[in-house]
Amino acid sequence: MALVQTRGLERRYVLGGETVMALAGVSLDIGEGEFVAVMGPSGSGKSTFMNVIGCLDRPSSGSYRLADEEVSTLDADALAAVRNRRIGFVFQQFHLLQTLNALGNVALPMLYAGLDRKLRMEKAAAALTRVGLGDRLHHRPTELSGGQQQRVAIARAIVNTPSILLADEPTGALDSRTSLDIMALFQALHHEGATVIVVTHEADVAAFASRVVRFKDGKVLSDQRQRPRDAAAAFAAEEEAAA
C-alpha cells in the first residue's frame, strides 16, 4: 500500500468567470521512503499538487488517501491535525517567526500538538542538533544565514516525525553552494527513512531525487526513476574546488 495514493485528483478554480483546471486528473502512488522530485514549469499544477498532498487545500474531486486514510473529505480541523502529525513543510522563504529563536520556531508544531513545554524543548533541541545547529539553539532568525534558517525550518518540519517531508522550492532562496548543503541534508534524512517530496523547477535539484514526476497542464507528463546524484559528495567537491 502506497503512503500517498491519489486517484483522478482534480482541482478547479474559478478565476474571473473562467474555470481553471489546476489539477486535471492526477493518479499517483508514492511509497514510503521514496525521494520524489515534482517538476514542471509554473502553472503546471505542481504547487497545487503539493498543497493538496500537504492537506493545505482540498481537491475538487478525486480521491487522496494518505497512509490508507481518505483525507480529501476531512473538515478543516481534521486537516489541521493531519498537517500537524503527518506533514512536515519546508518553504522557499523559510517562514520562520522573527520574534522566536531557533528553539521556539522548531517547538511551534508541538505547541499545537499539545506537548508540554519541557518535552517540546527537548525534542526541538534534538531536531536542531540533527540538522547541525546544536550550537545555535537560542539564535533568532535574523542572526542566522539563509542556509542556517532553512536548516531551522527543516528541523521544524521533522520535529513531529511526520509521514512526509514536503519541500516547496527549498533551495530557491539560497546560493548554489548552500543549496547542495541543504539537498545533502534532505538526502541524509531520506537515508534515515524519511519520505521526501521536493517541488522544484530546477533540474539541478531534481537530480538528487530517486524519482522525478513531471507535471504539465495539471497532468502527470512523465514519471521516471533515476539514480540520484550524491549531494554530499557534490558539496565536498565544491568545497575542495573553492579551497
Partner: protein
C-alpha cells in the same frame, strides 16, 4: 495549545511592537482612568455631603424672621423681630414630628482674653441647641439648666475661637471679656469643620440665650423675647418637607397672617443645600462617565484597527501556523487573547492613573478618597471585555484566512 501558552505568545507578540502596543492601549487607559476617578470623586463627594449634613445636624429646619417694610424700604430677610421664644415653645409642643427646638440669637462680638482679642459671632442658645446641632462639648462641661435659666456669665468656645484667644493654653476657667462683661469659659466644643457653605463652624462662642439677650445684644422692651432663628430638629423617619409645612402653618396662625398675606418668616431645609451640592457632584460624575464611555469606545476601535493591521502584517505567520497544524480556533484565540491582553493591560495602567488622579482631586477638594476594590476589578474586567468585543472581528478575519493564500502573501 493551552491557555497559558497562548497568553505567553500573546505577550511575546505585543512585546515585539512595544510603542505600537503602548499607543494602542492609550484609549483604554484614559477610559478606565476616567471611570476610576469618576467613581472615587463621586463617592468622595457624596461622603463629604453626608458628613456635612451630619455636622449641620441631620433633619434640621431653620426658621428665620422675615422681611419688614418701613416706609417703603424693605429691609430683607431676618430684619423683622417676628420670631420669639414662644414660637419655639409652640413648635415643640404642637408639631408632633418635632424632636426639639432651639431658639438662638446671633451677636457679633469682640472677645478679649489676657493679651489676645478676637472677633467672632457668638450665639445665645438654650440646651436644645446641643441636641439640634448634635454638637458635643469636648473638654470642660456644658451649660447647666440653672445657668441657662438665670443667664449666667459663662461661655463655651469653638475650637477656632479658643485657639485664637488662648493658643495652646487651656481656655477652661479663663475669663473672656465681651463688651466689658466678664465671662467664664467652662468648656470647649468638639470640632465641626466647614459647613456646607464653607464657613468655619468652629469660629464661634456660645452663651446662654438670656445672657446674650441681656448682656450682649442691646435688647429693648419691644424685642425682649425675639430670637434670631429657631432650629427645628425633626424626628427620625418623619418627612422634612411635610414637617416644614406644619411648622409654617402653625407660625402663620400664631402670627395671625391672613390667607394671601406673605409669610413674615422663612423656613430653610438645610439638607437641601447639601443635596444641591451632591447633585452637582453627580453631574460631574456623569460627565466623567460620558468621557469614560467615549474613551473606551474609541480605545476599543483603536484596538480593532491595530489588530486588523497586525493580522494583515502577519498573514504569512498565520499561514505558517496553519500549515504546521494550528486549527482556526487556535488562530482566533491567539488574536483574541492579544487584543484582550492589550485592553486589560491598558485597564490596569488606567486604574493606576485613575487612582492617582482621584488622589490629587481629593487632596485639593479635601474629600475622602474612596476606592472600591470591586470598582477597580470591574474596570479591568470591562476593559478586557472591550478588547474581546473589538478584537473579535480581526481575530475572525485571521482565522478565516486560507492557508495557501496566506503562505503566498508578501
Amino acid at each position: 495549545m493551552n491557555f497559558a501558552e497562548a497568553l505567553r505568545s500573546a505577550f511575546e507578540a505585543l512585546a515585539a511592537h512595544k510603542l505600537r502596543s503602548a499607543l494602542t492601549m492609550l484609549g483604554i487607559v484614559i477610559g478606565v482612568a476616567a471611570v476610576i476617578a469618576m467613581v472615587a470623586v463621586g463617592g468622595g463627594a457624596r461622603e463629604q455631603v453626608v458628613a456635612q449634613i451630619r455636622s449641620l445636624g441631620a433633619n434640621l429646619l431653620v426658621v428665620i424672621p422675615g422681611n419688614i417694610t418701613q416706609g417703603g424700604v424693605r429691609l430683607g430677610t431676618g430684619a423683622a423681630n417676628t420670631l420669639t421664644d414662644d414660637d419655639a415653645t409652640a413648635i415643640m409642643r404642637d408639631v408632633a414630628a418635632v424632636q426639639v427646638t432651639a431658639p438662638t440669637i446671633r451677636v457679633p462680638v469682640q472677645m478679649i482674653a489676657n493679651a489676645q482679642n478676637w472677633a467672632t459671632a457668638a450665639f445665645g442658645v438654650d440646651l436644645g441647641f446641643f441636641e439640634a446641632r448634635e454638637w458635643e462639648v469636648e473638654s470642660g462641661r456644658s451649660f447647666s439648666p440653672e445657668e441657662i435659666a438665670r443667664g449666667a456669665q459663662v461661655m463655651l468656645l469653638g475650637q477656632t475661637a479658643a485657639r485664637n484667644l488662648f493658643a495652646d493654653e487651656s481656655p477652661i476657667g479663663q475669663t473672656v471679656r465681651v463688651r466689658n462683661v466678664p465671662m467664664t469659659v467652662i468648656g470647649v466644643l468638639a470640632r465641626k469643620g466647614q459647613s456646607a457653605l464653607g464657613q468655619d463652624q468652629d469660629d464661634t462662642a456660645l452663651v446662654p440665650l438670656l445672657t446674650a439677650r441681656s448682656r450682649l445684644a442691646g435688647t429693648n422692651r419691644a424685642n425682649a423675647r425675639s430670637v434670631g432663628q429657631i432650629l427645628v430638629k425633626v424626628r427620625e423617619g418623619f418627612d422634612l418637607n411635610g414637617t416644614l409645612e406644619d411648622v409654617r402653618e402653625l407660625l402663620r396662625q400664631r402670627h395671625r397672617l391672613q390667607p394671601g398675606q406673605e409669610d413674615d418668616f422663612t423656613i430653610r431645609n438645610l439638607s437641601e443645600i447639601a443635596a444641591t451640592r451632591e447633585a452637582s457632584a453627580r453631574t460631574l460624575a456623569l460627565l466623567l462617565a460620558a468621557v469614560a464611555g467615549v474613551s473606551l469606545a474609541v480605545g476599543g476601535i483603536g484596538i480593532m484597527n491595530i489588530m486588523l493591521v497586525s493580522v494583515t502584517e502577519r498573514t504569512r505567520e498565520i499561514g505558517l501556523r496553519l500549515a504546521i497544524g494550528a486549527r482556526q480556533r487556535d488562530i482566533l484565540r491567539q488574536f483574541l487573547i492579544e487584543a484582550t491582553v492589550l485592553a486589560a493591560f491598558g485597564g490596569i495602567v488606567g486604574v493606576a492613573l485613575g487612582v492617582a488622579a482621584a488622589q490629587i482631586v481629593s487632596l485639593n477638594a479635601g474629600w475622602p478618597l474612596l476606592i472600591d476594590p470591586v470598582t477597580v476589578l470591574a474596570a479591568v474586567v470591562f476593559a478586557g471585555l472591550v478588547g474581546i468585543f473589538f478584537g473579535w472581528y480581526p481575530a475572525w478575519r485571521a482565522a478565516k484566512l486560507d492557508p495557501v493564500e496566506a503562505l503566498r502573501a508578501t
